[in-house]
Assembly symmetry: C2
């Protein structure tokens, strides 16, 4: 069934408040998770709510207070996230970077010891609504899934990066990563008894494979960087770049051998109005977007689309018609609703 | 034969000075082109000297003066390059961004109407020697070689991006692009009567091909974005990102339908010392570099290497033992040497 978008946000807010998060944390997190579902990033939306509640309960996600400001330059900022909810930290970092970018043209914030940040693309609308271009990247220094090009042993996480680009029409919302696929996608294929759609991984001997069990088997294989066996040096380079921005600038990462679900986060905002001008920026990006949309499609049934086009349509649909929750989410929240005497969500 | 690195720089400096470039332009350009050769980027080194001299002579590359400062915020800067030599503009932008990053933590410079900027990786040592992390990206809005994912008609240039990352040992020098290959590489394969090493392009019907003639034939094909037919949405996204940084922030690009060899340039420098600390940064990136180097290789004969390892070895070799010029370069400079009464370079 379809739920009113605001009802879902309100329900998730209640649960997070009952779990003990203070201030505006419950609402900010609920909004970003619901938005991720609306955008089609269903593995990184409300499916994370129950796991987050469990993390809060066991004390591995902090409940209260603000990040510690390590430095404030003021357009170069480092926070220690104190394992506060990463979704809230990232949304707050985006808001602060926007305010500072309005003054300095650009602002960069690196956050160490954040908890998990969910869907990167879900932060982009905050910047885009303010007319800003934004970059969000993260890595999880406690996890290794992706091998360097030519190597057998994983070193990196997929290291996603999302980029929001205003145009004179719909904005562009990029959400890519330094690896072809993710552990989550492998898990889904494994559960469904399917192969991966391509040779996106290597087994423990370094042989390219479409076997989604390589991260679950022993000895373990690894995911291939973007470009794969053919030109994976490009994804490998992107991973090094993103881990330097997230872990290097924040001064916290793999060298510290951290344990547990976590994140090193990079947020950067550009105010086009303080570069060559907002209209000039949108004139260029709008022209590019139109050139892409009108590039004749290889398959006439599949016109060239701009990154984010489906996500924007999904947001509009969720807000106008309502949001359908993924199977399992209502069930996953039942024990928490019961615990705090809340009615269950209708399924 | 091997030439002393300094002799090559001095010779190229003389030619560029005779061509009429003022101030330090001849020496700055000569140094970066020679460095590109030393780093192994031989198509973007001294092979460009004769074409640059021709551009200067016909007046399509400006000889004198400074870029026009469009805005200076002061950590967000836009220059109008006035079609001055792009190599000089980019080196100067890098130097200025380093000075500003020392004060503000980071500095971003977008340059419009630059002339061609040659080898992006050759600017990274300027930042790395100062302990900085740097990003250089460019696009050429007069040229279309790369198709958006799913489209048949080219929209982008390869849109290279170079990233220099200090570590506690050798730095990492990334130099990748949003497409799998370049027009130059296709031209070399075509001249040698070879195929491309993979399905890196599409023909005019959108069929994936290893035929290097697709940009030279009529109707024209296109290069595939990084990720290719399998996952080229990633390279497509990278192209949109880089063209927004270069053309959007500088306010000049494809919407202006420019003509001639040119460049829109993005330079961004981070001073790790003003984020979480230079030592903390290098501790993280050094750990990562070591983890990559020691990832067991798929092919025991080919250990995992860090991006830039060959380039750094090439620089050391060129400075210690000398630099061998690519075939054809000495010949290409003969008419210019003759014109200005200079001795020819020994071949």
């Amino acid at each position: 069934m379809l739920h009113a978008f605001e009802d879902i946000v309100a329900y998730a807010t209640q649960l997070l408040a009952h779990a003990g998060l203070d201030g505006d944390k419950p609402r900010v997190i609920a909004e970003r998770l619901a938005l991720a579902d609306a955008m089609g990033h269903t593995t990184h939306g409300l499916a994370l709510l129950a796991p987050y509640l469990a993390e809060i309960e066991k004390g591995s996600m902090s409940r209260a207070g603000d990040p510690e400001v390590v430095v404030d330059r003021p357009a170069a900022i480092v926070w220690d996230g104190r394992r506060l909810p990463g979704v809230w930290l990232t949304a707050k970092a985006m808001e602060l970077a926007i305010e500072r970018a309005k003054v300095f043209g650009t602002c960069t914030i690196a956050v160490r010891r954040s908890h998990h940040i969910a869907c990167l693309a879900a932060y982009l609308p905050i910047a885009l609504e303010a007319g800003m271009m934004a970059v969000v990247a993260c890595s999880d220094p406690a996890i290794t899934h992706v091998a360097p090009y030519g190597g057998k042993k994983a070193v990196f996480t997929p290291d996603p990066v999302a980029v929001g680009i205003p145009t004179d029409g719909d904005p562009v919302l990029i959400d890519i990563s330094a690896s072809i696929t993710t552990a989550g996608r492998c898990g889904r294929a494994l559960a469904a008894g399917e192969r991966l759609p391509g040779l996106w991984a290597i087994d423990a001997d370094g042989q390219a494979t479409d076997d989604p069990s390589i991260l679950a088997s022993e000895p373990r294989g690894a995911l291939l960087p973007t470009g794969g066996i053919d030109h994976g040096h490009k994804g490998y380079a992107l991973a090094l770049w993103i881990e330097a921005l997230t872990q290097g600038l924040s001064g916290w990462g793999r060298a510290d051998a951290p344990i547990g679900w976590s994140g090193a986060v990079f947020v950067q905002v550009f105010d086009p109005a303080l570069f060559a001008g907002a209209d000039e920026f949108r004139r260029q990006t709008g022209w590019l977007a139109e050139a892409c949309r009108t590039s004749p499609p290889i398959d006439p049934a599949r016109p060239v689309r701009l990154p984010g086009a489906w996500a924007l349509a999904g947001i509009a649909r969720a807000k106008n018609e309502g949001l359908a929750l993924q199977p399992g989410i209502v069930q996953s929240l039942l024990p928490w609703a019961e615990k705090w005497g809340l009615p269950p969500l209708a399924d």
